[in-house]
């Protein structure tokens, strides 16, 4: 197998507070190959955004990476000094955030922001950078880019602004793009446009994309593989079609059943009782055990490690042949 673009090994992120240490990310591992889109999905507080921030080294104190490693094309980046990390960020890793208005500076024209970024990371001349900026805007689907490039961010609509942010992330032709809820602030019709744009870019440039979102629909449309996160751990990871149509982990099952569908008629949605535990009160054993309909004794004491099960990796004692109770999962 060729070397993955991003490889995260047993990553742990902690936040030190007066009341003790909160484990936001508790030992997660995953790879993203060249040209692959990995979807990271979970509910608020599952740790998906923190995972993204940890990969690009943007965890601010009191948070800290407490263990594990992050490898970008084989190079360890989690322990780089800040100045070197700053060069990796932007050049080799691009970022797209949820709210396009806050990731653009309202006081500068789009052209200035694009050209500055291009010239920081390449040795193009000012006019060469401007030409490249126009090409980038054309590539992300902004009509008449040579005229629009000198506009200010507020002169663009939400969808167009998100396209500018994507162009900004593409400036240095990064190997990896981390997109944190890129379509959440947009209307469905515009959302579909942005999704297909991201997909096309991943395909054409061979960029690896880590797509963080809570919207299962977006993942199903875009991702090749998906990781379902719960309370700072990966509950299940596998090819998107398998995870969506045949989820194994009881939490993933609940999550899929909870989504109202356009195709099927159901009177009641599947309901997962309770809500995600607070980080200060993660139950021992499997963090999902108080809400799990299939819980048995082992779940309350022993933390499940990821088990390979056909194409998926699932962290659930039910799939461990040696211990699971005989009345298997429905």
């Amino acid at each position: 197998m060729t070397q993955p673009v991003l490889s995260v090994r047993d990553l742990r992120v902690e936040f030190v507070t007066r009341r003790g240490i909160l484990k936001a990310i508790d030992g997660i591992s995953f790879d993203i190959a060249k040209g692959e889109v990995l979807g990271v999905v979970g509910e608020s507080g599952a740790g998906k955004s923190v995972t993204g921030s940890a990969v690009i080294g943007l965890i601010d104190p009191p948070g800290r990476i407490a263990g594990g490693e992050v490898l970008l094309s084989g190079m360890r980046i989690d322990n780089l000094p800040p100045e070197e990390m700053r060069r990796v960020r932007g050049k080799r890793i691009g970022m797209i955030f949820q709210d396009p208005l806050t990731s653009l500076n309202p006081l500068y024209r789009v052209s200035e922001q694009l050209i500055e970024t291009i010239r920081t990371h390449t040795n193009l001349s000012a006019s060469g950078a401007r030409k490249r900026a126009i090409d980038l805007l054309a590539e992300v689907g902004i009509p008449a880019p040579e005229r629009r490039i000198d506009s200010y961010p507020h002169e663009f609509s939400g969808g167009m602004r998100q396209r500018v942010v994507i162009a900004l992330a593409l400036c240095a032709e990064p190997e990896l793009i981390i997109a944190d809820e890129p379509t959440t602030a947009l209307d469905v019709s515009v959302q579909a446009q942005i999704i297909s744009l991201l997909k096309r870019l991943g395909r054409e440039h061979g960029t690896a994309i880590m797509l963080v979102t809570h919207d299962m629909g977006v993942i199903a449309e875009t991702a090749d593989r998906v990781a379902v996160m719960y309370a700072g751990r990966i509950a299940e990871i596998g090819p998107v079609r398998d995870v969506v149509q045949n989820p194994l982990h009881p939490y993933a099952k609940g999550l899929m059943g909870a989504i109202p569908s356009l195709e099927s008629d159901t009177d009641r949605l599947v309901q997962i009782p309770g809500s995600m535990p607070r980080l200060s009160a993660i139950p021992p054993g499997c963090p999902f055990n108080p809400r799990c309909p299939y819980v048995f004794d082992r779940c309350r004491v022993e933390r499940p490690e990821p088990i390979q099960h056909s194409e998926h990796r699932v962290a659930c004692h039910l799939y461990d042949q040696s211990s699971a109770p005989s009345e298997a999962v429905a």
């Binding site: 209307d187 579909a192 199903a220 009641r268 949605l269 995600m276």
Partner: protein, 334 residues
């Protein structure tokens, strides 16, 4: 309409004055400018039914909701609830009595509950305001009963809103809406701020309450899947007008209006059925200067001269010249 409808909305219009300040107009010679947020919306809701309005941001769906509950006076048109016109001056006493039977649930449960009040006081507020129960002991019992009804514990009444999660707060908001024995509840994006698993809990709760108490809902949402799950009839809004109105199943199986088809195509396909999607082009235009004729014409693949000149009327549940003229087959998208 066979049975008498419970809520009747007739030709509702609302304009907002978005002119520059008077002095600027005098000095710079600008005209007064109006934004037509809602432009002639009519629909009716039968008792015990869920009617939904869907549309993208800026389509005017929330403005309709606010006019229906009376938070915003309409510029024109009328809302009749249970036979009482909400705008006629004559029926003041009747309107007062009707008020307590209409309640609203808002999108953001963090903003719609007073953070300095305990939950039992929040839930009891409508009871006290309408003087439904006088004795304190009975009010306490009633609040406990309401909290149990929405899946909370009576002891939760002693807590403050910040001690609850988003889903639980929305339950408190529903308990408050039910406190005055409401029959008609307007829900403006009730689950948009919630995670999917919590959204499922709230949607299930809303349906259970409807079955038990015979509630009538007006549901405002931009999420088509939620609307399909909840509503028996659906109106699709675009730039202040209803472009298509139909019963739920029909709308999703045989969408007629090109905008409805486009919206359905744009919904990400969770089931991964391999459904073909038509790429959507363009964005919702600026409502201050909407396109002439059918407001959807710049984005519509079937637009012709007539569409650019003449506003299509809502006939047979759809406002589209191409459908009326038979240029566009009704079943094409099915």
């Amino acid at each position: 309409m066979t049975e008498r409808s419970y809520v009747e909305v007739k030709d509702l219009r609302r304009e907002f004055d978005v002119s520059k300040p008077w002095l600027n107009r005098v000095l710079e010679g600008g005209e007064k400018q109006y934004l037509k947020a809602v432009d002639g919306v009519s629909f009716s809701i039968a008792k015990g039914e869920t009617f939904a309005l869907v549309g993208e941001s800026g389509s005017g769906k929330s403005t309709v909701a606010r006019m229906v509950v009376g938070l915003l006076p309409p510029t024109n048109g009328e809302v009749v609830i249970d036979g009482v016109s909400m705008s006629s001056k004559a029926a003041l006493a009747e309107r007062q009595r009707l008020r307590r039977r209409i309640q609203m649930i808002f999108q953001d449960p963090y903003a719609s509950l007073n953070p300095r009040w305990q939950v039992d006081r929040i839930v009891a507020e409508p009871i006290r305001a309408f003087r439904l129960i006088e004795r304190e002991k009975e009010i306490t019992d009633r609040v406990g009963e309401l909290l149990t009804l929405v899946g909370l514990h009576p002891a939760d009444g002693k807590k403050y809103p910040h001690e609850f999660s988003g889903g639980q707060r929305q339950r408190v908001a529903i308990a408050r809406a039910l406190a005055s024995n409401a029959e008609f509840i307007v829900c403006d994006e009730p689950t948009s701020a919630l995670d999917v698993s919590v959204q499922a809990q709230i949607l299930n709760l809303m349906r259970d309450l409807q079955d038990r108490l015979g509630l009538t809902y007006l549901l405002i949402s931009h999420n088509l899947a939620v609307v399909r799950h909840m509503a028996s009839r659906i109106g699709v809004m675009y730039l202040g007008r209803i472009v298509e109105i139909s019963n739920g199943r029909e709308l999703f199986a045989h969408p007629k209006h090109p905008y409805t088809r486009m919206l359905l195509d744009a919904v990400p396909d969770v089931g991964m059925t391999g459904r073909q999607r038509i790429p959507v082009s363009g964005e919702i235009p600026n409502p201050i200067s909407p396109p002439s004729g059918c407001t959807f014409n710049p984005r519509c693949p079937f637009a012709n001269e007539r569409c650019r000149a003449e506003i299509p009327p809502l006939l047979g549940g759809v406002a589209c010249h191409a459908i009326h003229e038979g240029r566009l087959a009704v079943d094409a998208a099915a």
